[in-house]
């Protein structure tokens, strides 16, 4: 039968780790005073794990814990790449020893980074080819350039919709809707020779025509600056 009132589950948290380079309590205290003085609120009740792997000789575990708590940190335990006997000792003294998953985390991060780079690279590659449409895009028509830029040699009528995962270029008037960076691409841009659009959208940020008054009826391009849509003069 399951325990109705409690449940244990593993979770990952970000904890501050205090790396000690000396076991001299006076020196540690002096540096802590300086550090905490910089941002007293920030450190208040912050859970801290103390890394002792750099310390040699006798370590005053109890004193270190007391010192940490004196500065209003919440002491969690000790950590570090240390011998098994020392870990055992720490536990016998009544402190937690927190195992780091440093190596595996580093590996995971590396893998994650790699895949991110790969995805980004593949996306970038796709975005460089163009889908070219010659002629008007009429009311009621929809054009989608999947993993491509969209080039329209003609105008996009009111009631028409042009969508691209990359950029949109309209060599004519843009009177309908233009949605660039449809799959999420914050660097996507929309260019047109005459801005009279019903709606423009980049990476999910959109503008209705009332927001485009600054460059209304003139050649312009729309882009994102700090996730805010911006229009700029084209010529």
């Amino acid at each position: 039968m399951a325990d109705a009132s409690i449940e244990f589950k593993g979770s990952s948290f970000t904890l501050s780790v205090l790396h000690l380079r000396t076991s001299k309590l006076a020196d540690i205290r002096a540096d802590l005073i300086k550090k905490v003085a910089q941002a007293p609120d920030f450190f208040y009740l912050v859970p801290v794990v103390v890394n002792i792997e750099k310390l040699v000789g006798g370590i005053e575990y109890q004193a270190i814990k007391a010192l940490i708590e004196e500065f209003n940190f919440t002491f969690v335990g000790f950590t570090g790449d240390i011998a098994t006997e020392q870990r055992k000792l720490i536990r016998e003294l009544g402190f937690s020893f927190v195992n780091t998953t440093k190596v595996s985390t580093a590996k995971q991060t590396a893998i994650a980074q790699e895949s991110v780079t790969k995805i980004a690279a593949s996306a970038e590659c796709h975005l460089y080819t163009d889908k070219v449409h010659r002629g008007q895009v009429r009311s009621g028509q929809q054009l989608y350039a999947k993993n491509q830029n969209l080039v329209v040699i003609g105008s996009v009528s009111a009631g028409a919709e042009v969508i691209a995962d990359g950029n949109i270029h309209v060599y004519g008037s843009l009177r309908g809707r233009a949605i660039a960076g449809a799959k999420g691409h914050h660097k996507a841009q929309i260019y047109c020779q005459n801005l009279e659009a019903e709606l423009v959208s980049i990476n999910g940020n959109y503008w209705l025509s009332e927001s485009m008054q600054q460059h209304w009826g003139s050649p312009a391009f729309i882009h994102l600056t700090d996730s805010e849509l911006t229009s700029s003069k084209l010529i």
């Binding site: 002629g135 008007q136 009429r138 028509q141 105008s155 009528s157 009111a158 009631g159 028409a160």
Partner: protein, 269 residues
Amino acid sequence: MARIIVVTSGKGGVGKTTSSAAIGIGLALKGHKVVLIDFDIGLRNLDLIMGCERRVVYDFVNVINGEATLNQALIKDKRVSSLSILPASQTRDKDALTKENVGKVLEELAKTFDYIICDSPAGIEAGAMMALYYADEAIVTTNPEVSSVRDSDRILGMLASRSRRAELGLEPIKEHLLLTRYSPKRVEEGEMLSVEDVVDILSIPLLGVIPESQAVLKASNSGEPVILDIESDAGKAYQDVIDRLLGETVEFRFLVAEKKGIFSRMFGG
């Protein structure tokens, strides 16, 4: 080779039937063999405009269903002998038409006639699609106001994607813009889109501009197509349309408001 021309618009009441009738008569007067087909099944109007409503015995749907031959259904115009009318049915609905049976009728007509003018119903439903499907050319009838222009734009999209020529990847339908009910005075006052505005939005060649005219209403009610009223400005404008359709270059008329002379201003003329 017969030229199949659809007169279409998307929006209703812009002057498709008036224009079909005028263009049909105009081409026939130039000596061409012309047939006018009313595709507006259930809302038959072309026969009224042409003044032959009392002579309708068989209609388009009867021909399609094999209840009458084409020769029985075609009505010869009393004014111009080279013009015939194939009226729509007033009692059936548009589902009577299919691509196959319309195709057969058009093929048959193409043997005798030089021009087949298809008067399309309004809307973008099956009836309108049927009227434009076999077209070689399209006369897109538009009023100078935003909703009409928007609907014409939609129809232009259909012409480019849903027609037989589009489906078979043939040369696209030749598109013409016919601007009707144009009032230069109201354009000047900013109440109406100008010719330039409409041409800019639709981006197709301009075939003609028909001025808003009392003559059109009078013509419709009397069953005498306005092109026969050679004194009226609308009649003259349709004449120009015929010349342009036949490949001539004709200057556009009736684009600016008439200035009132000093006498008419003084005496309130």
